[in-house]
Symmetry: C2
Subunit: 322 residues, 2 copies
């Protein structure tokens, strides 16, 4: 029996990961989530399976429960995080607390329980505004441009130092933006939400020409599992993204096609959507590709999968304010 602990188990990527892991009946999965952004509905189906249970708790506030429930685990997937890149400057402590300090707590809970393997979802944002495109894992020492990126960089450093110091093993995945079922934040969510509320005009941050890469959530999970299966260094770091890029204007066009709607757009202007927004992200994923992984979905497919999911889950937008 593989005993697997998943933080952020009710989140977008976390809940999809749980669903995948429990398909293997040799896995027993314990989830941990504070439901700050996670949704009970995302783990409803998983709870019908006998090899999943969860604890409602906060990594920092309920540290003792975290330690207690991590007993006898073989591996920790640490996905709990503040994933809100854009509003970091409005509450600068949030990234430090929910990413850096929370990761420290997870590592300490692991150390106390002698759990030796950690999987961590990092971000392509840690490359800041690199001038190496596509960007490989060993790109030149990056300069941070967002509090989110800085906090994830700090997490990576902590994890690496714990591996060196306490004999742990880590799998760190630097993701581009992720799309798919249960995606609940980011520009596509905001656009859909805005139109759902009856607006016909979208206000787009930046000039719409920001070039981004996206990856489908199931492809991310494939990539995570592929790295764990086929790489066995002390510290295993992989980029995960598609080779494609699209522009924000492309996603708006497809949104219009999906809604059969002519969307009027106003561009706020400037190269960046917000301070710290990277105007061009494309990761070099040769390292994970050499292990056999490749993204099975195009960005366009990921966007339509996401929009179809929205159509069937309008409850997501009930709390939306005009």
């Amino acid at each position: 029996m593989n005993k697997i602990f998943v933080t952020g188990c009710a989140g977008f990527i976390g809940s999809n990961l749980v669903d995948r892991l429990i398909k293997n009946k040799n896995n027993y999965v314990i989830g941990f989530d504070n439901f700050s952004t996670g949704q009970h509905r995302f783990i409803k189906d998983a709870l019908k399976q006998s090899n999943f249970s969860y604890i409602s708790g906060d990594i920092i506030e309920n540290y003792d429960e975290l330690v207690y429930n991590m007993q006898n685990m073989d591996i920790v997937y640490h996905l709990a995080a503040n994933a809100d890149v854009r509003y970091g400057l409005e509450h600068p402590y949030k990234d430090l607390e929910e990413n850096t300090i929370a990761t420290f707590h997870v590592l300490e809970a692991m150390r106390k329980n002698n759990v030796k393997k950690i999987v961590f979802t990092s971000t392509g944002s840690i490359y800041g505004e690199t001038n190496v495109h596509p960007t490989p894992e060993n790109a030149p020492f990056p300069v941070q441009t967002s509090l989110y990126g800085a906090s994830k960089l700090a997490c990576e450093g902590l994890i690496e130092a714990y591996c060196e110091g306490y004999g742990m093993q880590s799998y760190i995945y630097r993701l581009v933006s992720v799309l798919g079922e249960r995606y609940t934040h980011g520009h596509l969510f905001d656009f859909y939400s805005y139109l759902y509320m009856g607006n016909s005009t979208l206000v787009v941050l930046g000039n719409g020409l920001q070039t981004k890469s996206y990856v489908y959530v199931q492809d991310v999970i494939d990539g995570i599992l592929c790295g764990i299966e086929y790489s066995n260094e002390k510290i295993n770091i992989f980029n995960l993204g598609t080779d494609e890029t699209i522009r924000v204007v492309d996603s708006i066009k497809w949104l219009g096609e999906h809604l059969k709607n002519d969307i009027e757009t106003i561009y706020a202007g400037g190269e960046r959507g917000w301070v710290g927004d990277s105007p061009f992200i494309r990761l070099d994923c040769q390292k994970i590709r050499k292990l056999g992984w490749y993204p099975k979905h195009t960005i366009k497919e990921s966007i339509f999968a996401t929009l179809n999911y929205f159509d069937k889950n309008l409850w997501l937008f009930k709390g939306a304010k005009k």
Copy 2:
């Protein structure tokens, strides 16, 4: 009048920096120190000058005082830190708290007071065990090998994100080990202390062949001031070290010469002095050298200056335990 705030003002580098800054009567310096490792004796002379005063306080515990006293400052030199690289694994929260979280507090205090310029002393340890020697500032994305390095990396990331997000300017210096007057921790201090207590045999961690670079404290201060004067990017990052390296056995030989003593040594063995010790550190300092800086002291001169300082300040060793 330049209004300068120095955290860690009573520490090894901090107090030497204060002495230098207050020589310019156009500078007014306010220091801040919790005296956890800082020494009142180190700022005794500075206090005789009318352009220096200090606050005894802890950056985290006395955050309100930090904010209050940073009013109207033009620049912050943030030198307060846990500089104890070796024992990180015995108290893993210490580096996170005293380096990463403390730096966040300093940045927040700056933001509240609209102070726009920060100088930060980072470390060559953030390059981990890079395979690029000498190591330039834009070396490949490093993997952390110590909690100390990881915490300083996190500080750099936070500072950079604050520069991007809140319009600040930063000067980040990645130092090799520093020697000179008021040096109070590290292997030379430990060796001297051990012999001072009447021991005749030194136990040396590692095989004594670890290759290190050292720089004299006054050269560090020259380098810091040179960078501030001649570089004006938003984020200015410089390595500071000598082109020389020595081995631990060399410093023991010079210690013996200084003490006119045959020192018997026992080597614990292994390439590293401790887990996370980098067996080979040499920084590429071309970037700061292009601005006119160069180290005026050899490593040997720095070591003898330090030993002469010890001879005249035996009070440093009074608390030493056998």
